[in-house]
């Protein structure tokens, strides 16, 4: 364990987890002095019947101020402003966000506009621009992955000006997050697998990156344990209530860890791959996670080795010679990808050359790897990675991840 001589850790989100956690919302709203929430969600979530379950749970003492299900897959400034108008017209006094990352981001954006009476959201972008409490926000994640129910970030895109606005503030943390097994039960295996690997990447990167600290460590270790134990199980058996709740909690733990310790090269290259090729974030994480560990191995061997105990349990940990524990962690993660690939009938990609879009077209052609390697140089996650990474390093990792071969660690420039 590393004891930094200075660090900050914050997670002031009330978390309610259970198979019937949604039913607690009316009481929670009352505690916050709210009784007319605006529900923010997207079409997919609504079509899966999840909003109905939430509405049913709200019957007692709550008037629903409106249900907006038009959040696009990519948060959008126009939608934020439109929903803020809806909030005001219907005199709402709280926001309930039901969905994945984009819904959470949108809800946070709406909250800034209605709380600060803002006409221009841009004025509040960056860090530290918000300095007081916003309206009550209840987050109900419908995937077990992003962890955005416990993060202080929101990304809103202005598609007209081709701008991406980033907001970071403790005031953006939801007041309450509800982890209810019913919300992830209908997630298809393929989505379950990739979002789960995103959660694992948060737990693991949070554990080896430079801003790690004993408090984020505790959350990472617990997350790694739950995700490794349950991810394949729920992907195989979507109706497994226990497993669904465990994954929701695991993703939440991982979210708490990485929002305090930050992430590194896996997210760095993953963001770039997403931006250049449009590959879903979870797939990038699944493919890149073993390589991120290999890339940082010479700097973080002992720390990575500590992940073996929560992953594989006492027996395997003790039987594995000390010097091989870190490599064992990497091979267990590769094995997870392999298992998920089999369970999803090949849809869960193990390497970039395998990633296909709906029409079966390859999403990451080999000749775009240099472009991805270059784009990654301008992504902030690189700061927190233990080892430095330049264009050549990025390309080395991307090529290995494309082919699906273990990283040739003798080629890493070690300085």
């Amino acid at each position: 364990m590393i004891l930094p001589d200075y660090y900050e850790f914050c997670c002031r989100v009330q978390i309610v987890a259970g198979h019937d956690a949604l039913e607690k919302i009316p009481a929670l709203l009352a505690e916050m002095g709210a009784k007319k929430p605006l529900i923010v969600t997207d079409k997919g979530v609504a079509a899966a019947g999840l909003v109905d379950i939430v509405v049913n749970a709200l019957k007692e003492g709550v008037t629903i101020g409106g249900i907006a299900d038009n959040v696009p897959p990519d948060s959008d400034l126009k939608v934020v402003n439109q929903l803020a108008g809806l909030y005001r017209d219907n005199a709402c006094d709280a926001i309930i966000a039901v969905g994945g990352g984009s819904v959470m981001d949108t809800a946070k954006g709406v909250n800034i506009v209605v709380s600060e009476n803002a006409t221009d959201l841009m004025a509040f972008s960056g860090a530290g621009a918000l300095n007081r409490r916003l309206k009550p926000l209840v987050a109900i994640p419908t995937t077990a992955g992003t962890g955005s129910e416990v993060t202080l970030v929101a990304v809103i895109k202005d598609h007209e000006k081709h701008q991406k606005m980033l907001f970071t503030s403790y005031f953006l943390l939801p007041n309450v997050s509800i982890l209810d097994s019913r919300m992830t039960m209908t997630m298809p295996p393929f989505i379950t697998a990739m979002t789960g690997m995103d959660a694992l990447s948060h737990a693991v990167e949070g554990y080896y990156c430079l801003q790690k600290n004993p408090l984020s460590d505790a959350h990472s270790l617990a997350a790694v344990n739950m995700i490794h134990q349950y991810l394949s199980m729920v992907t195989k058996n979507p109706a497994d209530k226990e497993g669904r709740l465990a994954m929701a909690v695991g993703a939440c733990l991982a979210g708490i860890s990485f929002s305090n310790s930050m992430v590194g090269i896996v997210h760095n290259l993953g963001h770039a791959t997403g931006a250049v090729c449009g590959v879903p974030h979870g797939i990038c994480m699944a493919v890149l996670l073993p390589y991120g560990l290999e890339y940082n191995m010479h700097k973080r061997r002992d720390i990575i080795a500590e992940l073996l105990l929560p992953m594989a349990g006492e027996d395997v940990y003790l039987k594995t010679p000390r010097a091989e524990r870190a490599d064992k962690v990497v091979s267990l993660i590769r094995q997870m990808n392999q298992d998920l690939n089999v369970i999803t009938g090949g849809r869960h990609a193990r390497y970039f050359s395998e990633v296909k879009d709906r029409d079966g077209k390859q999403m990451v052609p080999r000749d775009v790897l240099p472009e991805i390697a270059k784009a990654a140089l301008f992504d902030g996650a690189t700061i927190y990675n233990p080892e430095d990474s330049d264009y050549e390093d990025n390309l080395l990792v991307l090529e290995a991840a494309w082919e699906g071969k273990p990283l040739d660690r003798s080629k890493i420039k070690k300085g």
């Binding site: 930094p4 200075y6 140089l377 927190y384 300085g415």
Partner: protein, 173 residues
Amino acid sequence: MQEIHAGGKPLKKAYVAIFLWFTGRAIQAAAKVDKEVKKEFDTLPDEFTFALGSLPNGPWMVVGKEKGKVKYFGGNLKCRPIHLRLVIKNIEAAFLILSFQESTALATTRNRLMTDGEVPYALSVIRILDIVEVYLLPKLIASLAVKRYPSWWPFGHKLAGRIGVYTRTLLGI
């Protein structure tokens, strides 16, 4: 942070001021001598200007592009529009970072070094600072300042760069 002994602060401030003055000139020099530094500046917009310094009231170093040339503009934040500021929390932290007792990466994780401006620009500037430090400092010290010391650089390249950067820095050209 509690003062350790009287007189510590002015000395530290003087050190930081001299360091920033020297580094500012060295960046201007390195942009002419080193291909990587030049390439990095080429990715930045025309007239791009950044500042590195300490809260609450300096000292600062302002470096930027003017008509395609990289220039050190001295220590006045108001001399021209600044696109990016690398801000160190206080003079104590500035001394720690600029005397290489703490790398820029670790200083960031410990909330002692903050960026005010767009992240991609900040990453470019950090890469530039890293290369300049490798030229200015002996390996033992530079290894503490940067995340990874470029030991794979050919000896001749490092030596030529070092001579070029030092000569130009001292002459101010």
